[in-house]
Subunit: 205 residues, 2 copies
DNA sequence: ATTTAAGTATGATCTGGATCATAAATTAAA
DNA sequence: TTTAATTTATGATCCAGATCATACTTAAAT
């Protein structure tokens, strides 16, 4: 029923469109903060290259990873469109080039390009799916179930026999567990042949 | 910066538009299931009157309330637009009249009415905000903090001195806690004068 | 008005995963 | 290559909140 332009292609075209329209990327080094909770949103951020993590931090300094955004993806629209202060930090996890598109320009993009608008609706829907899944897990499921679900989700982008490029700490920060707990569970999943461990690396079977 | 039609007004106009366009509502009785997890989405559901809860249920039968939808709101778009099976049940919590708009018609609505499309983007953004907030709470915060945050959020639509129309069980099902825990915490918040209890009812101070 | 059901209340016990401590292995930096 | 920094690993203890049990209160149904 849904006949839509290939998603990745549309993403790449979007970055190209921005560059052609003379939007200039800013360079961020690994660890740089793009925005902080409480700040008033002024732009939507398109990643020309690199990777960022979006994290909320509680009073004890414990991080929760709300999302990870990679090359050709964008972030920061919800807060901008609702005109509400950010809830999360966004931090470059590696050196990155990012195009900040000011609010008015972003609205114009949405208005002038219905296909981009449709793509945004899909992107938001996808993020909602992920968050709904994780909410169910955090609310109702025990540690082992949480990690099994999360790893299955992350394995979607990984080939059989290939490594899942993520640390135990990151899995902990995505699942609301502690790193020791994640380590023990990953070991257990390995014992149960649900994944393979090679020199600590998590390998998809 | 954002100049948008009043949200509630646009919602009501949408229902009116559907009725004018000869979409017919279906009646559901309290407890009726509108859709179930696993089912393939075919429509988006607009609530002409009534109320529904969207819940995921784990293997032990424990419910988690993903969202509550009321008159003039709609639900079920993300799964439809991603063409993925539903994750949750949607159940009428009171007698309701609901207009099922088939996928193609919904896409046509989005295409023909950019303001509706823009409104959907805002609605999805708002739901993402709520889910991000709850994820942070479930991942990082203890019971008392969770309930305090949730009650503060729900109090937004309640006048001072008025009752929060929600049961302890529903708060439990939204926060991933057990009903006994919620009862104890609500009592504690009452002792701390953060809310008032009158014959068991939670009153906003 | 009476019965029934749903929701609230409260104590006692139990347990999954946090916390603490310590060390080994791997990767990055000097 | 050596040192330093991350990440993985593992045991011991602890505690917040689940679980279990039981009763009371309020609202709904007959």
């Amino acid at each position: 029923m849904l006949i839509l332009v290939n998603q990745v292609l549309l993403q790449i075209m979007t970055i190209k469109y921005l560059l052609d329209s003379n939007f200039k990327p800013t360079s961020y080094e690994k660890g740089d903060v793009i925005y902080e909770p409480g700040a008033q949103p002024r732009a939507v951020y398109f990643i020309k290259s690199g990777k960022v993590r979006m994290v909320t931090v509680n009073d004890d300094g414990k991080e929760f990873i709300q999302g990870i955004f990679k090359t050709n993806e964008y972030f920061g629209e919800p807060a901008l469109l609702l005109n509400k202060p950010y809830l999360a930090y966004t931090i470059a996890t590696q050196d990155s080039e990012i195009i900040a598109v000011k609010g008015d320009d972003f609205l114009k993009m949405l208005k002038d390009h219905p296909d981009f608008s449709m793509k945004l609706i899909q992107t938001l829907s996808h993020r909602l799916f992920y968050k709904s899944m994780m909410l169910e897990e955090l609310a109702n499921e025990h540690a082992e179930h949480r990690i099994r679900t999360l790893v299955a989700y992350l394995f979607k982008d990984v080939e059989h026999g290939q490594e899942l490029k993520i640390t135990r700490q990151q899995l902990a920060d995505m699942s609301g567990l502690r790193v020791e707990t994640v380590i023990r569970i990953i070991k257990k999943l390995s014992d149960q042949k649900e994944l393979k461990l090679i020199r600590g690396k998590i390998i998809k079977i």
